[in-house]
């Protein structure tokens, strides 16, 4: 091998400054000089206190938001416009409410010009893979929150993206559903190792899922303040892995760093 393999996704010295709505107010810098690399097939979680600009970072990686400074590279190439190699699992409800579950999963294929019937057939297979066999005709409002997340997951993965960006996808779910979904996510991921950037404020979730955990500082002007390789054996069960000694060590180690930032972020929240 002549060259090292390019990272699937690289954020290089990204700064995001938002103009304040009123002209006199100072501009707000959400992210400053932040760099991050994700190797092909790597599962990276990003943790940080609330309001630290995690979603901003993901929008930059998706190409939905152009950074004020810095470059995004996808497989070595600088990103222009939307990131076509990435799938994005949003935190909020993002399904098309007027399409059935099957129609939602098929949407991306249809946008790519694949024949409707073919798209719907593939969507049916994906619905089965996320455990929603027989729910194809249900509209989003007829599904539970966890089911809607499964549909969204199938909707994203059916397009076979090289990179999957996930913005606190399970934060609105109850604990049991959440652990189920985490395990299913790991199953799907280990089937065809995509690069994953997983944003969460839940440190346990981050450790139990990832190969690497990146800790961000409290905002504004967020930067990375720590990176931890997670050397827990795979395949993992997210509930069981949490009871291992190594998990607890990692948790303690990362939490010590994160705690100070959370307190800082909390203090800023109070002042605002």
């Amino acid at each position: 091998m002549g060259e090292a393999r390019a990272p699937a996704l690289a954020l290089e010295r990204i700064t995001c400054t938002f103009q304040a709505p009123e002209r006199m107010a100072p501009a707000y810098t959400a992210v400053r000089d932040l760099s991050l690399q994700v190797a092909p097939g790597e599962f990276v979680s990003i943790v940080g206190p609330t309001g630290c600009g995690k979603s901003t970072l993901l929008n930059v990686a998706a190409g939905l938001l152009a950074p004020s400074q810095g470059v995004v590279r996808v497989a070595g190439e600088p990103l222009r416009g939307l990131n076509r190699r990435a799938g994005y699992l949003f935190q909020a409800e993002a399904l098309l409410p007027w399409r059935s579950a099957r129609g939602n999963v098929a949407a991306g294929l249809q946008f790519r010009g694949i024949d409707r019937r073919q798209a719907l057939r593939e969507a049916e297979e994906w619905l089965a893979r996320v455990g929603l066999e027989g729910f194809g005709d249900h509209y989003p409002h007829q599904l539970s929150g966890g089911m809607r997340k499964r549909v969204a997951l199938a909707q994203t993965l059916i397009l076979d993206p090289a990179i999957v960006l996930m913005d606190e996808p399970f934060s609105a779910l109850d604990v049991q559903t959440r652990q189920l979904m985490e395990n299913e996510l790991l199953d799907l991921w280990s089937a065809d190792r995509k690069s994953v950037v997983f944003i969460t404020h839940d440190l346990e979730e981050a450790i139990s899922l990832s190969d690497r955990v990146v800790v961000l500082s409290a905002g504004p002007a967020t930067r990375t303040i720590g990176e931890f390789g997670i050397d827990l054996a795979r395949p993992r069960d997210v509930a069981e892995v949490r009871l291992t000694r190594r998990f607890l060590e990692l948790h303690r180690e990362i939490w010590e760093l994160l705690k100070a930032e959370v307190l800082k972020g909390h203090a800023q929240g109070k002042r605002a």
Binding site: L82, L96, P97, A107, F111, Y139, H141, Q142, Q155, A172
Partner: protein, 263 residues
């Protein structure tokens, strides 16, 4: 289930009783001379006149014309409102430019246009359709405009990440969102198309239920005027029922208020 049915039957009986009571009071008041029958008609004659219209078949032609006018006004007004609404919602410069004129046109009482339309389009169907269109257009237009503006930014971003082109966004995101708003205003716009047709007929025409009423009024035949109003009302209720049926079919994806959402 059975209790719900019994409740429905009782409700229906109550409503019929209310209507019968209304006609009875009307009958007694005009019959005893408390209200002069010349000005207030007599319910038996009114019902008789309406029945004769249907028995002789005279009414069908007029009803048919009013119906055609209503349907055409509704169709044309909706299509126009949909296209212009989508266009202006997605073209901020044009919408800023046209805003005061659209507001002005909407604020203007459209009925005064009826004589102008009669001059332009004659006394036939077209002038009534034109009046109906000016009424329906704005309802649909404002709803479409709102529908496009209210598309969730997350849903939009998601569709873009799934690879939707600008055209596909229009077709698969903006249009469904806008049409859902149009459907939610279906009752109002169908009603308005109907009003446009009847008012147009009333102000100058040679056929239609509005024309029948105008004719009767010219002859001081108050009973026939009331019969016309009765037929119009029944017809409007029928239209409304059809719209409700349509709505239930087309807005199936929408959560119904009575079912609770599960999370």
């Amino acid at each position: 289930m059975r209790r719900a049915n019994a409740h429905r039957i009782r409700l229906l009986a109550g409503r019929v009783l209310l209507l019968a009571g209304f006609f009875l009071v009307w009958h007694v008041l005009t019959q005893t001379g408390v209200l002069p029958p010349f000005f207030f008609g007599s319910p038996l004659t009114v019902l008789g006149n309406a029945a004769r219209w249907f028995a002789s078949g005279k009414i069908y032609r007029h009803l048919g014309i009013t119906l055609i006018e209503t349907v055409l006004a509704f169709g044309a007004g909706t299509a126009l409102g949909l296209v212009v609404g989508l266009w202006l919602a997605l073209a901020p410069t044009a919408s800023a430019l046209l805003e005061p004129y659209i507001k002005g046109a909407n604020a203007m009482p459209r009925v005064i246009l009826a004589p102008i339309f009669a001059v332009w389009f004659g006394l036939g169907i077209l002038s009534k359709v034109a009046l109906g269109v000016t009424l329906v257009f704005f309802i649909v237009f404002f709803n479409v405009y709102q529908g496009v503006k209210e598309v969730s930014p997350v849903v939009l971003a998601n569709a873009r990440m799934l690879g939707a082109t600008r055209r596909q966004l229009l077709r698969h995101v903006y249009l469904p969102s806008a049409t859902s708003w149009v459907f939610s205003s279906l009752h109002t716009s169908v009603g308005m198309a109907f009003v446009g047709a009847v008012v147009g007929e009333y102000l100058g025409s040679s056929a239609g239920v509005g024309y029948l009423i105008l004719q009767a009024e010219g002859a001081f035949d108050i009973n026939t005027v009331f019969a016309g109003i009765l037929v119009l009302t029944a017809f409007a209720l029928l239209l409304d029922a059809i719209v409700t049926l349509l709505e239930q079919r087309l807005l199936r994806w929408r959560p119904v208020a009575t079912t609770t959402e599960t999370h």
